[in-house]
Symmetry: C2
Subunit: 127 residues, 2 copies
DNA sequence: TATAGTAGTATACAAAAGGTTAGTACTAAC
DNA sequence: GTTAGTACTAACCTTTTGTATACTACTATA
């Protein structure tokens, strides 16, 4: 019967790939926890391209001051950037990426490349 | 003055990397729109590892029925998977990834690898 | 007949994420 | 002195995301 067959297949699948699956799911989970959400990667990209100051980043990615403030704190806490205060006058604050943030290179590349191709696909489908 | 210097630097930065930055930001934006959020990539991973049925996916990734239902519809609409109904008895529904979903390979690999390393880093820092 | 499993939907509600507006405190330019 | 810019914070509100519970309808098992 169909159900019996499915049952056996289910056991086989479990034996073969359950660990691989759980490992990948855990990896994705951890990644999304650290760099998920609407803003984190965008902020990191802006910083990588040389924008270092609050209002500069805000205008570049179109985020509200509130969210930028929150996200910058989180990113600093997680070791992706450092906050540098240059006592003025005028007082200037610069946000700079740490070396650890370089480990994100592959992720950023993969995601933005895929995003560009996906946009192209959508555009083709519409026309 | 500091401000004058910053002003000039700002212009230079704008000329050098503004386009690169905007292109990357747009790519990330499109990617996050299609596969962002807490569940999409996890569902795709589960499907890749051979889990194809509703309750199976639900248990594997720990999502509520409501959210799974919503996300599966979105993923089908965006061409990542197909819904196959096998008229029973018993009626069985299978969700299967399309070829297009294979384009996500690089993204999935980069993200889960980074996530694993990040977890390791956090673990080391704590001990 | 009762229990459990399949694949969901409906409803209500809570929590998280994000936006808007206003305001602080300071400096610089007109 | 007025306007504008820097770097934020606080209060309030809306939207999105998510959970929990109950329910449908059908099949299989004990």
């Amino acid at each position: 019967m169909v159900s019996r067959c499915n049952f056996i297949l289910k056991i086989m699948k479990g034996a073969i790939s359950k660990e691989v699956c759980q490992k990948r799911l855990k990896g994705i989970d951890d990644a999304l926890y650290a760099i998920g959400g609407k803003w984190r990667l965008k902020i990191i990209i802006a910083l990588r391209e040389g924008y270092t100051r609050f209002n500069e980043i805000q205008r570049t990615i179109g985020i509200s001051a509130k969210m930028l403030s929150i996200e910058l704190k989180e990113l600093e806490l997680n070791g992706f950037l450092k906050r540098e205060v240059h006592t003025g006058p005028p007082v200037v604050v610069e946000y700079k990426l740490t070396e650890y943030s370089d480990t994100l290179e592959g992720v950023l590349q993969a995601l933005s490349d895929w995003g560009e191709n996906h946009r192209e696909k959508i555009r083709r489908e519409r026309s």
